[in-house]
């Protein structure tokens, strides 16, 4: 079980999260703004940090940057609808994931599990199996219902990046930089179109994608096999 630092200026949210997380057996510390959050991240060395974006004194974005100077513990950003650009900035500044308030506890626990698994030092997953889709990165093999799927090099690059980060949000910029190269990070429509093709090949629905999920205004997330 893990040590979780909750940084949020709203006492209701702090208390609720503390009680919920302690109920799951985690050790919890709270901080009420970015400054205190950075200090506790340094002194208490949490395994994971839940970080609100809009806070007095120091907001989540700068707190995230400060924490990343000394800690690689996963950071999950707590934000509200409409802060998409701040979310993206936080993710690009080293946050691992985000969750939009108001959120269900179940969703939060899933995010925490994914983030903790990544930080546990285990190597990134090289296989993905879920509802008929199977990806084996070592064998460079992608099958849907047992049938092999042929992907272009770019599609494969995007998919393998998603598989290594299954369950975790990846920003448009991150995916573009990874699959195309840093000079293409502005070319959102490339990505849009390749994701469309990829979904089609994976037998994913265009309206209700099951595997490659859209995070509006932020990026994409491959569903976690254990959701």
């Amino acid at each position: 079980l893990s040590r979780i630092l909750v940084v949020d200026d709203a006492p209701e949210i702090r208390n609720l999260l503390k009680r919920t997380l302690m109920g799951q057996g985690h050790a919890v510390e709270v901080a009420e703004d970015g400054v205190e959050g950075v200090a506790k991240a340094r002194s208490w060395e949490p395994d994971i940090i839940l970080l609100d974006l809009a806070m007095p004194r120091m907001g989540g974005l700068s707190a995230c940057e400060h924490i990343r100077e000394f800690s690689q513990s996963p950071i999950i950003v707590l934000s509200v609808m409409g802060e998409e650009q701040d979310k993206v900035r936080a993710l690009d500044a080293g946050a691992d994931d985000y969750i939009t308030k108001p959120f269900g506890v179940e969703e939060l626990m899933a995010r925490i599990r994914v983030a903790l698994r990544r930080s546990a030092g285990a190597p990134a997953p090289t296989t993905f199996a879920c509802d008929g889709l199977a990806v084996d990165l070592d064998a460079r093999r992608v099958t849907v219902e047992g049938r092999e799927v042929h992907l272009t090099p770019i599609e494969y690059a995007v998919l393998s990046y998603l598989v290594r980060n299954a369950g975790r949000v990846l920003t448009h910029t991150q995916i573009l930089a990874h699959a195309w190269g840093p000079e293409y990070t502005g070319e959102l429509q490339y990505l849009r179109s390749f994701i469309g093709q990829l979904r089609k090949k994976l037998g994913d629905s265009a309206a209700r994608p099951h595997f490659v999920l859209t995070e509006p205004g932020v990026g994409y997330r491959l569903r976690s096999p254990d959701w």
Partner: protein, 482 residues
Amino acid sequence: MKKLVGDLLLSAATVAAISGGIAAVLSRWQVGPLAVVYILGILWLATRGRTAALLAAIEAFLVYDWFFVPPFHTLDVQQPQEWLELGIFLVVALVAGQAYALQRRQALEAAERDRHTQLLYDLSTGLTVQENLGGMFDRMLAKLAQGLGLSGLRLYVWREGARELSGGVEVASDGVSEPVTSVYRVPCRIGEHDLAEMEVFQRSDGQPLSQDDLRVLQGFANQLANALERRRLEKEEQLNQVLGEANRAKSSLLAAVSHDLRTPLAAIKASATSLLQAGADFDEGERREFLAAVNREADRLDRLVRNLLDMSRIESGALTPRLEWHNLSEIAADVVDRLQPVSDGHELQLVAEDREFLANVDYVQLSQVLTNLVDNAIRHGAPLAPIRVGVAEGRLWVENQGRQLSDEEREHIFDRFYRGEGLASGTGLGLAIAKGVVEAHGGRIWVENTAEGMRFRVELAVSEERGVPSPSLSHCDGRGTN
């Protein structure tokens, strides 16, 4: 000084010419005193002013005496009666010249005053015309500059303590590019309050401005100040009206919102207190029902708050869509899935081919539009009848079964705070927001009656560019399954 020299030369020339004429006449005919002829020249010179007439009278007196009164070529006079003649001539010449010059000047001044009065009148009638200020200023200034023969005029209006150039005219110089210099600054003020300032440039002909010119300028400045003040008061009045309207809107918003906030709050409070009751004995199913109600009503509150935020953004003009290419069917499916659990028994059906309908939209905002349309359909649909959400290329629609809309309702259904006939619930915000958002996307939203009920349609601008260019793949190695 220049004028004096001119007067001197011209009067000398005139007197010389007339003297020549007299000498020519006298050489042929012996006629009586011809001195009177000089009077004509003096009157002519009087049109130039009193100095020229005065000089000419004296010159004529001297020349006549010198050449034509014996003994010739001296200023001496033989006969005493000739002294008298010469004296009378001098007096007549002086008086006639001065009187004519004076009368002539008064006539010119009167004409000038008339012209100035006309000019001021024209300008004042021009100022009362309500229109674009900048253009009006330029036209007025051009008229004034032309009327007074100025090489330029500029108008500066004071705005928050700083002078701001608000209009100006500069007469094209005649190629001699001598820089025009400003000679006056005329303030436009109301009481002690400076509203504007006119910068006056020298006359095109280099002459100084007369007192009358200055009076015209000041007169125009006063009219301008009045016009500016009137404009300011009108604006203030308009602002007050807008503020009053906003205030009323705010009151009705607060009334509607407090009602709508209270409903889910009441449900949450009731569920929570039921569960908290000491000694209450609920089975697991009942407990879950209370909790589900809390969950559902919290979502409803969330949607309401989001609408309020959107409304305030639309009102303040701060709603700028962050456009990205999104799949409309994905947005629609997302909304349908989210609202199905709170649809009061209506089945939400998604009508779309399973393919991508890309549109350049703000995902969050467009999903709010659809949420509001579906929410509206749930409120107004016939009980338990299905609600259909359709997607096609650049188009979305939401249709429900139930009553049809009257013409009046159709006209006002997208107005803020408008609620349909006989309906108590709803803030009257959802559809107004839908309209605001769709229009911020450059799209169109409207409602139509169908055979079974009503259908809201949204049409979004779809980019011409369909194909997506492929980036160079040269830096990618062959990692892949094929």
